[in-house]
């Protein structure tokens, strides 16, 4: 019996293979230093949860044939906005630097949950606005989101130039202590990992079991055909960017959970590239229409694994992560080109 594999699964299987290969290689190389432990695996998730959240949004955008370069800046904007809104001078008098007066003084400091709600709403609306510009005026997505990238980063600096740590008791106690799950001693799974996995489950459902997901794939495959089929192209495209804005700002929230600070200069620098790289390494075609969310999860894990392998190795500089990720992106693009060409040749026969 000959095993036949649909060619659309080949990149996904290749990603899975790379992930397993990297993990086995890590286990073999660092067996003496506890690489094979739940702690290391938990760290893979917790250190890259905000990348993962951003990558989920990027997956939808790329599947629909677009691209979103504003991710990192929106993370920075969200983080500094939250930090500023719940900044209490009484709790933390040592913070120096100007804090912009965003709201009437008697509204501040507000509870972090309210601040998070405001920040996520703004981030989501930001995505909607970019989607509208892209759809209604037929501007290229990379140009509009490039503008969005500048705008969001600049707005973050308008709020505050220096970073601002969050000392609110809600952050200090609830998030960092009480909402962590410690299944066994020494292994800690923070809240953001559950945020990431929960969002992933929802996204998986939306992509593969809802009409919205089908429409996204259809637009990414061919906008013209989608239009002729009577699919709601406008609604879907704008929703995709809205969702991406939501994911980016949620990644910003995850950043504040993880770092307990807002940072307009340092937060999310280059995150958009990492997110795109993770999506591509996960086997999604950058021209749109082909790919799986499961691939993105694998891509994020590959990214995380490379990082932690380099950490374990110790002598290589962290910059090798960037180079290896770049090479992997290239390999996957070439693989996809090859697969597309092969399946086209098959169709001709």
């Amino acid at each position: 019996m000959k095993l036949r594999i649909d060619s659309k699964y080949i990149p996904l299987m290749a990603s899975a293979l790379v992930l397993v290969g990297l993990y086995v290689a890590g286990c073999a190389a660092f067996a003496d230093r506890n690489f094979v432990s739940l702690g290391v695996i938990a760290k893979l998730f917790s250190e890259n949860a905000f990348l993962g959240i951003a990558a989920i949004g990027a997956t939808f955008v790329i599947l629909s044939g677009g691209i979103d370069l504003s991710v990192g800046s929106v993370v920075a904007f969200t983080s500094i906005l939250i930090a500023t809104l719940c900044f209490d001078p009484a709790l933390d008098p040592r913070q120096v630097g100007e804090v912009a007066q965003l709201l009437p003084a008697d509204w501040l400091p507000m509870h972090p949950l309210a601040a998070i709600a405001i920040a996520v709403t703004l981030g989501t609306l930001f995505g909607t606005a970019m989607g509208c510009l892209i759809h209604f005026f037929k501007l290229p997505a990379f140009l509009v989101t490039l503008g969005g990238m500048f705008l969001a980063r600049g707005l973050a600096f308008m709020i505050r130039i220096e970073s601002l740590s969050i000392k609110h008791p809600f952050y200090a106690e609830t998030i960092t202590n009480r909402l962590n799950w410690t299944p066994i001693d020494g292994v800690q799974i923070p809240l953001i990992v559950f945020c990431f996995l929960g969002l992933f489950a929802i996204a998986l459902y939306m992509a593969h079991f809802r009409r919205f997901g089908r429409n996204v794939y259809a637009i990414g495959g061919s906008e013209e055909s989608a239009n002729l089929m009577g699919l709601p192209v406008a609604k879907t495209r704008i929703l995709v960017f809205t969702f991406a804005g939501f994911c980016s700002s949620l990644a910003g929230v995850a950043y504040t959970f993880y770092m307990a600070k807002g940072d307009s200069a340092g937060a999310g620098v280059g995150l958009e590239l990492d997110a795109i790289a993770a999506v591509v390494i996960g086997g999604t075609l950058l021209s749109g229409g082909v790919g799986f969310l499961a691939g993105t999860l694998i891509g994020v894990l590959i990214f995380a694994l490379i990082q932690s392998l380099i950490n374990f190795q110790g002598t290589l500089s962290a910059w090798w992560t960037r180079i290896i990720v770049g090479v992997l992106v290239l390999v996957f693009i070439l693989l996809q080109n090859f697969v597309t060409a092969a399946s086209r040749a098959q169709q001709k026969e």
Binding site: L139, L273, W319, I323, G326
Partner: protein
């Protein structure tokens, strides 16, 4: 945040001189029907604003027989984006885009700094090796796009992601600083800090590169080849244009421009800084090109427009810095201006506006 604006209605000689020159340029560009008229007009508007609201914006001074002043600073600080925009114009005219120029700048700058500091190399090698590396980086992009048929956005993304890592490897994670004790110090520092014909030397480099590019594209058939490839790849191939070679050439040329820009920047700050050199400049370059009237879909280009666009971006940044915005906050107005200009140029926007007008006016328009 913004220092209070003070209106000064009187015009000095230099202010009126600059305004007159800019107005003449706008009229000339209008007559010649080049797309450069839009960035030039915006530049003129900005100049009017500065003439009235910014103290001494146009005052030029002689110090040690060199020319100093804010307009000179704009020319000098705009030199990187102007250089990048030259290459980017041609790439975009072929229907592509190059995201890696910032990273290539970092690589060439890092290579130059390391050559001077670690290897005490002679000046000619300090120039030749980084430029050769930058050319190789451009050729790599070109190969991916033309031979492997990867979309340009993606192909150049690879080098954008990996390039800074390469630069870090070259400097081994440090930021090598060049000081007087090294062999090629004087010549190298001249590139970014020296003066030629009373003007910063970087301006001369840009002028020469611009002249060469303009001559090669407008006085030979090369420019037409570039436009035909951008307009319709297949049709131009049937017409006998070697689209592959054209694409290889424009990406390699962009690598060259980025390499030179990296040398100027590194020379200017006397440090090879792998993480900061050229950061976000690819975006500035793309914006300069788009503002300059080169269509992102490819097929036509205006080098003059791109250079004017680059100057507009730099003038805008400088104006905002003078008025008390930090360079980071200046991103906000910059983004707004760029999105607005793109919107004004978008055909879809024109169509929508026309539809909004009442029927009678529509016929007149």
């Amino acid at each position: 945040m913004i220092a209070s604006l003070q209106l000064d209605l009187s015009l000095t000689v230099s202010e009126s001189g600059f305004l007159a020159v800019l107005a003449a340029l706008v009229v000339l560009a209008w007559r010649l029907k080049t797309p450069a008229v839009w960035p030039l007009a915006a530049l003129a508007l900005l100049a009017v604003f500065n003439a009235f609201f910014t103290v001494d914006f146009f005052e030029l001074r002689w110090i040690d027989s060199h020319l100093f002043g804010i307009p000179i600073d704009i020319l000098k600080n705009g030199s990187y984006v102007m250089l990048l925009a030259l290459g980017m114009t041609l790439v975009i005219a072929t229907g592509g885009v190059d995201l890696s120029v910032g990273a290539v700048m970092a690589i060439s700058g890092a290579a130059a700094a390391v050559l001077i500091k670690e290897h005490e190399a002679p000046f000619i090698l300090v120039l030749a090796i980084p430029i050769a590396i930058a050319l190789a980086a451009g050729l790599w992009n070109g190969l991916l796009v033309s031979i492997f048929k990867i979309q340009p956005l993606v192909a150049t993304l690879v080098l954008m992601v990996a390039g800074r890592g390469v630069a870090m490897l070259i400097t081994e994670g440090f930021r090598p600083t060049i000081t007087r004790q090294y062999y090629a110090y004087d010549e190298f520092v001249y590139i970014g800090n020296g003066f030629l014909f009373k003007l910063p030397f970087a301006v001369t480099i840009v002028a020469v590169m611009f002249a060469i590019t303009a001559l090669l594209t407008r006085k030979t058939a090369l420019g037409m080849f570039v436009e035909s490839v951008g307009d319709n790849d297949t049709a131009s191939r049937y017409a006998g244009v070697n689209a592959r070679v054209v694409k290889l050439m424009v990406y390699t040329f962009t690598g060259l421009c980025a390499g030179v820009a990296g040398l100027i920047y590194t020379s200017n700050i006397r440090t090879g800084d792998p993480s900061k050199t050229g950061l976000y400049l690819e975006l500035d370059a793309i914006m300069a090109v788009v503002i300059g009237g080169t269509a992102l879909t490819g097929g036509r280009f205006s080098l003059l427009g791109s250079v004017a666009g680059a100057l507009l971006i730099q003038a805008l940044t400088t104006t905002m810095l003078i008025h008390g915005l930090s360079s980071d906050q200046a991103l906000v107005p910059k983004a707004l201006v760029v999105v607005t200009v793109c919107l004004l140029q978008a055909p879809e926007f024109h169509r929508k506006i026309r539809r909004l007008l009442p029927a009678g006016k529509r016929r007149a328009a």
